[in-house]
Symmetry: C2
Subunit: 335 residues, 2 copies
């Protein structure tokens, strides 16, 4: 196989393998991070250069307008979330817009309005960017790249530990289900959950010694986030399907398309790992902040089992299976 | 007109007008920069957040391999140059690669090799990024977005002053001419000048009080850079065509295509404004650093003429004309 496939862009196993082979393995160790920082040697939502958090993402969602938002809202929210999930208080955004020749100006107008409306709501300056046009024989649509900068007093560099509880801040897979429904032509009243998770910063600052990991499970969904954590930390995670909140409409889209909700992107949900003795305090605080959190599982204690970087799912039916890193083409252009 | 045209992406007048109308005018002043920083209120190569220089660019060059380089070399060099031209010593790069389904893996391999070879040569870490795949019915090819970070002891925020000399560090328009020749099917032995201008940092540090403006004239060429400087500073610039270095092959491609070399991109040339009394010292230093610099004009003295933000060209034929901000579609996807 010598060509790029849709699966290479799934944010799961194939993406990891491709990047490892064609990019990461070519770089000497000292060029994978700044001295003392966090870089591509430690895949998190963003990078860390002393106390500066920086994140970049290319947004290619199709269609670019969807119930609950647009590529504009998604691009800004998604990048703010990546900064927030590293414990960074966002200070600025840069954007780079690529549109195809013939793209309708009223659509561009609306997309930029959506970007600016998020920036205004959270008072984040847009300090720079780029704008390019591609001839219509090479591209159709719009791509928005965003860069987020933030300052973190205590960065959250994901490292789960035995005994941690895994909490999600709300029902998962909603954004992915909306996009899947549109791509498959399934009617639904569901709206994307895309929004900045700015309120989580208060939680992170209050429990700053206790948050061992935080991620927004976008491309590849909860399955990708938990697998990355297990791999990064060399620990085993056990989650219980019945405790994972999923909206009824998401379940229904999931059963019609055959896509596991655990592989579907969320764009307004956080996954957090913290010592289980702090669980109740954190749940209380999350409820106060307006979230609907749930404890979905635990990182196993070393005495329970030998560490081997796996995610185990206790299924609704009472069985046990390995929750794999997503493979295959799932839903293309979900974000 | 309610659709995007190729001209909207020229980096000249139409790009300025589109961004002003659809983006900049929608943002309140306090969201155009961080407090005390430089942002989209002052269009330069990058933005400034205290002493951090940050720049982002989407690279869409077509074809993605060309004599003298590839989109990989261009993407890294171009972003390093944007950081350098703000007086920043590059500390790290992030990349975001978007490829179409079916893109040849050996080409991706070579493009990433080209990126990494520049990073290795200048010891710049790659600390983060993104990777997306777009179905082949929506895009053909590859787009690379890069983010550059740098630290500047004394940032160069472009502000030309009356009496300044304008210096270019080498012949202009070479990269643009190569891409134009490929797009028009003109045979040439010319190679792109794409390269990081890292050596200019020594000049900027040595003459740190004297560099009033520095820019690499990419999309829109020298004409766009000089017009932006005239607009930003409210000054008039006079340049002499006979003093502007242009390679013979570039002139020949220019005459065959009818594209003014002054509108063609350079990717390895700096334009610098500095007090004319420092001109000789700076020329000497540039020659020592291996450049082939030329003084091409001056910023007029206030006593000479009323300021009105124009660029005047004294032509080879002995006439005088206004050198306009580039308009129309020039060469699409030059960078």
């Amino acid at each position: 196989m010598d060509k790029i496939t849709i699966a290479h862009g799934n944010g799961g196993k194939e993406t990891q393998q491709l990047l490892q082979r064609y990019l990461f393995s070519k770089l000497p160790e000292e060029l994978k991070r700044t001295p003392g920082g966090v870089g591509i040697d430690y895949p998190d939502d963003g990078a860390l250069v002393s106390n500066l958090v920086i994140s970049t993402d290319s947004h290619t969602v199709n269609p670019y307008f969807f119930p609950g938002g647009s590529i504009g809202k998604l691009a800004v929210s998604g990048t703010l979330n990546d900064v927030i999930m590293m414990g960074g208080r966002p200070t600025a955004i840069l954007d780079s817009i690529i549109v195809s020749e013939g793209f309708p100006l009223p659509s561009l107008d609306k997309i930029i309005d959506d970007m600016i409306s998020v920036l205004r709501e959270y008072k984040i300056p847009l300090i720079g960017g780029d704008f390019k046009v591609i001839p219509s024989d090479s591209m159709k649509g719009i791509v928005i790249n965003t860069v987020g900068l933030g300052i973190s007093k205590r960065p959250i560099v994901d490292k789960i530990r035995p005994g941690d509880s895994i909490i999600v801040t709300g029902p998962i897979g909603t954004h992915g289900a909306v996009i899947a429904a549109l791509q498959y032509g399934i009617g639904t009243s569901l709206e994307s959950d895309a929004k900045p998770l700015m309120k989580l910063l208060d939680l992170f600052e209050k429990f700053d010694q206790d948050i061992h990991a935080a991620r927004d499970p976008t491309r590849g969904g909860l399955a990708a986030t938990l697998n990355e954590w297990a791999q990064l930390s060399g620990e085993m995670i056990v989650v219980e399907e019945k405790k994972i909140p999923v909206l009824e409409e998401v379940k229904s889209i999931s059963s019609m398309t055959g896509i596991d909700p655990l592989s579907l992107a969320s764009e307004g949900v956080g996954v957090i790992a913290l010592p289980s003795e702090k669980e109740n305090e954190v749940l209380e605080e999350l409820n106060k902040l307006g979230f609907t959190p749930a404890v979905i599982g635990r990182v196993l204690n070393p005495k329970d089992i030998e560490n081997n970087s796996l995610v185990i799912l206790r299924t609704l039916a009472g069985g046990t299976r390995i929750l794999e890193m997503p493979v295959g083409d799932i839903v293309p252009r979900i974000c």
